[in-house]
Point group: C2
Chain length 340, copies 2
């Protein structure tokens, strides 16, 4: 088989349809101290799951956004992640298998990004879990203020806030929070966070060509994490101008009180070099300060991606003492780890 | 000023010549608990430098390889990193300033990737430091087995082993090792590590076009981290075939004893999605096992990059108890952190 016959964007692959299971196997091989892989169900599980008496948290979605979600399975974050085909929702059976595998008797949170397929399939899985006497609370993320309704989505899309929510809710569960308490703090993160993304290039799913076309001097302002259209296509501008408008859109919707502390999350969509992400972060913190906001916590890097898309998203989360403390709590996953 | 007039590859930038200082400022703003920035000298310093009585370790090189080196400054790794212009060596004055800023009386290690400019400038800086009664030991990395001599290099290039060396030597220094002991373990890492890289696309420095041209179905086999030519240009093959030849080249040179434990480092060159890096890691561990080698430690991600280049490098380090223990020691830097 010639790889080149099957793809118009070059990738390190074997058969394109084996990409997700092979990548999951690689994740498991690289991090046997943190995770175990259920290859049949394409589920990444915390090594010591189920943790008896702890509220468990699972998430999932189409693949192609790595490290989301499988890279966030471990201590202090997710108990399991269900991997769909690239840019395609996992099926309810995967979600039910994950729910049953992690339930330690204290209930399970489903973290669901607001895409039609994910919402529908997680709903079915939650109903089936209830039939098996597992308590499930679903929390939906819909933080992307770029567009109301979109390809794949009714209402706003769930994007960067999902990463922050999984970390913070994971810490609450690790600290012994009840199902209601963990769900409440998760919903608080979504309520207090807003995101906005910009793309300079498209991406391509394994075995296919680019998701969309874009001119050599253009950017998609408000892009979704699957390459969904944003607010407009326009000529690329300077980093300071781009950040100014992104911050404006986010803060107009979020309306944080002047003097607030925030977590500023500059996320690469996959193909943008880290040197540029820090240029963006530098602009962002300056512009937040001008608005009376202080970025007391930060996250900069590729955490919720669109394969090799060149682009960046910004997420702003308004912090309070509870969220700050939970953010700082220890986490140990393949993609996010620190000690207290 | 129109950004688009100045560049043929789209980037998030203001004036291209401000990219490095703006990015360093962003790194400092994002991680004030770990680093401080000397913007005048373009040096990233450990927050609490100089640490009295500890051997200090500095490195540096052209920018564009982030997170190398600035992202590795912190506890348990580097004390300082000097940032040159993109793909251009820092000057001796920067290296001298860094050396003086971190010297805690126990001497300073210079970690130097084997590129002509870096080697020459670090040599001058070491001589000037000696004139000021600072003990300096220079350790050169030359782990890339793709080519002997190259653009910018006499002898082999220094690549992925640099990351592993900075972590392991940093742990030795943190544990109270003497200048001679830290230098010895650093040289052991370089001696026991070999690397090889493959590129699918070029990269572009800020304000300029692509570094090299490559066909839509081609790969550069043995590429350097600045896009230097490798062994040959050829049609892209499957991941398993590419990994098989990379592993073969590396292991033929390294000659680890059958039954050895190794650290397997799959490094993205910037533009390759994480899902593909784990496909590569999966292939690599299988093929190592077939050769009687066990990957008991791993590192998978973008750690020594070439801006937005799509590509991957593999580094294999033969482990012993000392190196394993130092690898596992706590590290807390912007780009690499874990607890013991």
């Amino acid at each position: 088989m010639s790889v080149t016959e099957q793809q118009t964007v070059k990738k390190f692959l074997n058969n394109p349809e084996d990409t997700v299971p092979e990548s999951l196997a690689g994740l498991g091989a690289a991090h046997p101290d943190l995770v175990k892989i259920d290859l049949e169900n394409q589920v990444v599980l915390r090594k010591d799951a189920p943790v008896q008496g702890k509220v468990s948290i699972i998430s999932g979605g189409g693949s192609g956004h790595e490290p989301l979600h499988g890279g966030f399975v471990g201590v202090g974050m997710l108990d399991a992640a269900c991997a769909g085909t690239v840019f395609t929702s996992p099926v309810p059976d995967q979600m039910l298998a994950a729910t049953k595998a992690v339930d330690g008797g204290a209930g399970v949170i489903h973290v669901v990004k607001n895409y039609t397929g994910d919402v529908m399939n997680f709903k079915l899985a939650a109903e089936e879990a209830a039939d098996e006497d597992i308590q499930v609370e679903s929390v939906i993320t819909n933080d992307d203020v770029a567009v109301e309704d979109s390809l794949y989505t009714a209402g706003r899309r769930g994007t960067g806030a999902t990463v922050l929510l999984e970390k913070i809710a994971g810490a609450k569960a690790e600290a012994g929070g009840s199902l209601a308490e963990v769900a409440a703090v998760a919903r608080k993160v979504n309520d207090q966070a807003r995101s906005f993304g910009v793309a300079l290039t498209s991406c391509a799913t394994p075995g296919s060509g680019p998701t969309f076309d874009i001119g050599a001097d253009e950017m998609e302002f408000g892009v979704g994490i699957h390459g969904e259209p944003g607010r407009r296509r326009e000529k690329i501008r300077s980093a300071s101008e781009i950040v100014a408008e992104m911050a404006d859109v986010i803060l107009t919707d979020l309306e944080p009180a002047s003097g607030s502390n925030v977590l500023a999350f500059v996320n690469g969509l996959g193909g943008t070099p880290l040197i540029e992400l820090y240029v963006i972060y530098n602009e962002l913190t300056k512009q937040l300060e001008e608005r009376g906001l202080t970025a007391t916590r930060s996250l900069v890097g590729n955490y919720i991606t669109s394969l090799e898309m060149a682009g960046v998203s910004i997420t702003i989360l308004t912090l309070d003492d509870e969220l700050t403390e939970l953010w700082d709590a220890p986490v140990h996953t393949p993609a996010l780890r620190w000690k207290a």
